[in-house]
Symmetry: C2
Subunit: 204 residues, 2 copies
């Protein structure tokens, strides 16, 4: 079983590799990769070791080869459809965020309880009434951006319609049956970590 | 120097400890803490060891004592003021998010370029014109929620007004002078990790 911390580092590596590829950098050492992410070079090599051998000692890693390999592990070469419930401020910002589509994640269905939002078009997606959520939506990924009091009810609706992975922004813990994966996002943590570094800053 | 991965785990521990405290749990073992966060128990103990000794072998850790200790490391017992630039969909959602205030982070100033947004009141904060950003704002934390094309310009303005820590949502890399800490957030990574677990799910 691959540690979660390794998986959460992969998109950071992938994004950095895409950036340096744009600047025509073809090879990179594990030291450079590690410095970017704030870990030890040995940790970077260990992360990759879970997925087989790549890179040659001494010469470093081919940027293109790493992008292919990590993109493959994360299935970023495929299109992934997602459904969002809650098209308020946060939901709208997520629906408009271009980077999702660049990595293959497309929010193709959007639902809300507020009938005044139903019919609104955001990008290519028209907001529908949550009561029209079909029995089998055939979309694996769901995003919940409703108030905490509606979190569990919306999670139940999504699971009933076949969603198997949920990104939960509500701040309220949701229970799901075995077979459904949930990740919760809390941007408060980002502020807490930023503040830690601010108060412990040592000019380099 | 404490590894970044350790610091990013502290808010996750802290949030979990607050939740179990609400359920009247007084003691917790490193195994239980580790299971919640998806790491090894030895990693949890190692994380804490950077900050001195706590917990007694065999009995586990006092929940209250851990909350005090981790809250102290993250300075969560103090009030932290923040300024936000960009009061669109994302900015508005961040300004309305109650959890920030619960951990002591208060967005007390908000600025936007769009004069039709100036004067709007969100919570206790009235949106101001970015051209009115004062010379010395006396606020340490800044949040940038503008389009990528304005990212660097807004970062320069915030740094010039005395902001020392920036949470950057724009997706565009910003350059800041030595002494300023930047953390970038990209929710695409959350989708990528969720999708990884969805495609590699092994029913437990
Ligand atoms: N996790 C984070 O870091 C973070 C950051 C900001 C906001 N939030 C949270 O995200 C959620 C959305 O924030 P927002 O600012 O967009 O709020 P909002 O009020 O603007 O939007 C919420 C939307 O959900 C809809 N809704 C409510 N109940 C529903 C239901 N049962 N079914 C379908 N739709 C329903 C509403 O009609 C509304 O359009 C809130 O819970 C907020 O606390 C989380
Ligand atoms: N990092 C992530 O995961 C993530 C997720 C969603 C959106 N985003 C990004 O966050 C940003 C905001 O998204 P949104 O949906 O709120 O967009 P939006 O268009 O609704 O809001 C942007 C706001 O910034 C203001 N603005 C533009 N230039 C400015 C300047 N120079 N000074 C002050 N204000 C200025 C606009 O007037 C507007 O109010 C975008 O760049 C978007 O791509 C990031």
């Amino acid at each position: 079983k691959i540690p979660e911390r390794t998986i959460t580092r992969l998109p950071i590596y992938y994004n950095f590799l895409l950036e340096i590829q744009k600047n025509d950098i073809r090879m990179i050492s594990s030291q450079e990769m590690a410095r970017k992410v704030g870990i030890k070079a040995s940790q970077f090599r260990k992360d990759l070791s879970y997925f087989g051998e790549f890179g040659t000692q001494g010469l470093g890693y081919s940027v293109e080869h790493l992008i292919e390999k990590i993109g493959g592990i994360l299935h970023l070469n495929y299109r992934h459809n997602a459904v969002i419930v809650g098209v308020g401020n946060l939901g709208t910002a997520l629906m408009n965020y271009p980077h999702f589509g660049e990595w293959g994640f497309h929010i193709v269905r959007a639902y809300d309880l507020d009938t005044s939002k139903v019919g609104r078009k955001i990008g290519y997606t028209t907001v529908k009434d949550i009561r029209e959520l079909p029995r089998d939506i055939m979309i694996p990924l769901g995003i919940i951006a409703v108030p905490p009091s509606s979190a569990q009810e919306v999670a139940n609706l999504l699971v009933a319609s076949g969603v198997r992975g949920i990104l939960n922004f509500t701040g309220s813990r949701i229970e799901v049956p075995n077979g459904v994966v949930v990740r919760s996002v809390d941007l408060t943590y980002e502020l807490a970590v930023l503040n830690y570094y601010l108060s412990h800053f040592v000019p380099s």
